[in-house]
């Protein structure tokens, strides 16, 4: 598979301070990458570099082979790699859901009939058909965030970058938004780059990259990443509660794998142990 996103020795600095330093990163088409790191580790800067909102101080960022520092390619790059931000209120432009979703296709100058099709597809993909004519400010946080995702989907992007999309949501909204993100990745093959502070969300990814002080500290599968609890704590992060519990059990002498990151895994291996015992 091709690399859809490629960072080639990227450094980005504000004044004399390097926010990101010598970042090399490749994201395959269809991959689900989670980016972790404490506040100020450079995660948001990384996101903004991907679709040309920021341009590297040195090094290059390529989206589907297009150089983000080439101004002529910006529209094409932003169409390919869409962005969803943390605060749903601050990214909804229109006063009616469908008009907001239509915003990007309108900007692209598409035919009204084509816009209609894209809006309808996008709203269906996030499961908000019932709210198509509603005013965004009457929706819940989770619904607003799904409108924001639909607004990006209407560009038919191949990659969506989400910068802490669930940070301001309640658990229900969070799980609905995560459900949509997973579905887009699995069913539509859209590449996902998810920046998050929630370890359970990162556990759903194919790969986790951890930023620390503007450098890549860890870049590996969730299982590998979360099995090193001490490392995670020292990076200002944590491990999912399931992993915490598993580590406790291992300390108590149960023969479990320390890279258990999903509740079902732990439940299955415990039940299997019981069977074997009996």
């Amino acid at each position: 598979m091709n690399n859809l996103i490629r960072f080639d020795n990227v450094t980005f600095s504000y004044g004399s301070r390097n926010v990101l330093e010598n970042i090399d990163l490749e994201v395959r088409e269809g991959e689900f990458l989670a980016v972790l790191g404490y506040n100020g580790s450079g995660k948001s800067t990384l996101a903004k570099l991907i679709n040309g909102i920021l341009v590297p101080t040195s090094g290059k960022v390529y989206v589907d082979g297009m150089d983000t520092s080439d101004e002529n390619m910006l529209a094409e790059i932003r169409k390919t790699a869409g962005m969803v931000f943390q605060n749903p209120d601050n990214q909804i432009v229109a006063t009616i859901v469908e008009e907001d979703i239509a915003f990007a296709p309108e900007n692209l100058g598409l035919d009204p009939a084509e816009i209609r099709v894209r809006v309808d597809d996008a709203i269906k993909a996030v499961g908000l058909e019932k709210h198509i004519k509603d005013a965004p400010h009457k929706l819940s946080g989770g619904q607003k965030q799904r409108v924001a995702i639909a607004g990006v989907l209407a560009m038919q992007p191949r990659c969506i970058i989400l910068d802490e999309p669930t940070a301001m949501l309640d658990p229900k909204g969070r799980s609905l938004v995560m459900g949509v993100i997973e579905r887009l990745n699995r069913e539509k093959g859209i590449t996902i780059i998810l920046i998050t502070h929630f370890m359970e969300e990162a556990a759903l990814a194919d790969r986790i990259m951890i930023l620390s002080d503007g450098r890549v500290a860890v870049n590996d599968t969730p299982k590998k990443v979360f099995s090193d609890r001490d490392r995670m704590i020292s990076l200002g992060l944590e491990v999912p509660p399931v992993t915490e519990l598993t580590l406790n059990l291992i300390r108590n002498g149960l023969p479990l794998e320390k890279d258990t990151i999903h509740p079902e895994e732990l439940i299955d291996s415990l039940l299997k142990m019981k069977e074997e015992e009996a």
Binding site: Y38, N39, P171, L245, L254, L271
Partner: protein, 287 residues
């Protein structure tokens, strides 16, 4: 002795209008001095309305609110004085920062109480101490701080009023894991040293399970459960049925039990969960 008591309290928005909406109704309960109460419930369960009644921001449209035995709405002239016994930290409190320096911002509350300069100064220092805000930060503009620091400065602004009851609405929302831990540790430490009542509204069952000694579960504008943590999480199954999250480990234990493993399910911390699971394997229970 400082207790906060609600008697059949309720609140209806737009009362008497065609679009009136009852957010809370018939709530009777007592927050005892020194309790650490976690409030949980869906968005729209009435949590936010409830806590705004606690410090007199909203006047209940039915029932009454008592602080130390006095109805806070009895005597309007004393309303201000009484409401300040309950310190309320709203969601994303950093949006309330406005002064030139952190010090001045923390002093805003005490100043409104009409205290002397010396008293204000000592309260600012005390509150900054609780929130682990170093001295050099006090002279900075609150708008130059990091997200977590802003949050702590805003909470200090409420603590500086020395409330008898501290109410926090999702104080960790939007923070990174380290920021979340810091804030919760600060609150826990404050509760342990001051022995004052703390009420924490949270979406995270894991946090409530770890820090609170009592849990209030709101559902559809009324109280579903109000009891010790252990008692409330005995209803984990019912909680899950109403669509509320339960602590991750409790969820795992429930599933294990459903699938035939004899574990205890009224457990909500990873340590205790590890204990009961280990026991089923070693068969200690039969010994």
């Amino acid at each position: 002795m400082s207790t906060l008591r609600l008697e059949n309290a309720g609140f209806t928005y737009q009362k008497g209008m065609p679009d009136e909406k009852t957010a809370v109704s018939g709530v009777s309960l007592t927050f005892e001095e020194g309790d650490f109460v976690g409030i949980i419930g869906h968005t729209g369960s009435g949590k936010s309305t409830l806590i705004q009644m606690l410090n007199g921001l909203l006047r209940p449209t039915e029932g009454r609110v008592f602080i130390d035995g006095d109805d806070i709405w009895d005597d309007r002239s004393k309303l201000r004085e009484k409401r300040f016994k309950v310190g309320l930290v709203l969601q994303y409190p950093e949006y309330q920062l406005f002064e030139e320096t952190v010090r001045k911002d923390i002093a805003f509350g005490p100043k409104n109480l009409g205290l002397s300069e010396e008293e204000i100064d000592s309260r600012v220092r005390e509150a900054a101490g609780f929130l682990r805000i170093p001295d050099e930060l006090l002279e900075r503009s609150p708008f130059d701080l990091s997200g977590g620091e802003k949050r702590r400065a805003a909470i200090a602004g409420v603590l500086a009023m020395r409330p008898e009851v501290l109410v926090l609405d999702e104080p960790t929302a939007g923070l990174d894991p380290r920021g979340r831990r810091d804030i919760l540790d600060v609150i826990k430490n404050y509760h342990e040293t001051e022995k004052k009542t703390v009420i924490l509204v949270s979406h995270s069952m894991d946090d409530v399970a770890r820090y609170a000694n009592k849990v209030l579960v709101m559902n559809g504008g009324s109280v579903l459960y109000y009891d010790s943590v252990a008692e409330v999480f005995k209803h984990a199954l019912e909680l899950r049925e109403t669509g509320l999250n339960i602590p991750t480990v409790t969820g795992i234990l429930l599933t294990l039990r459903e699938r035939g493993l004899a574990v205890d399910t009224d457990i909500y911390t990873p340590d205790a969960a590890a204990q009961t699971i280990t026991e089923t394997f070693r068969g200690r229970r039969s010994e």
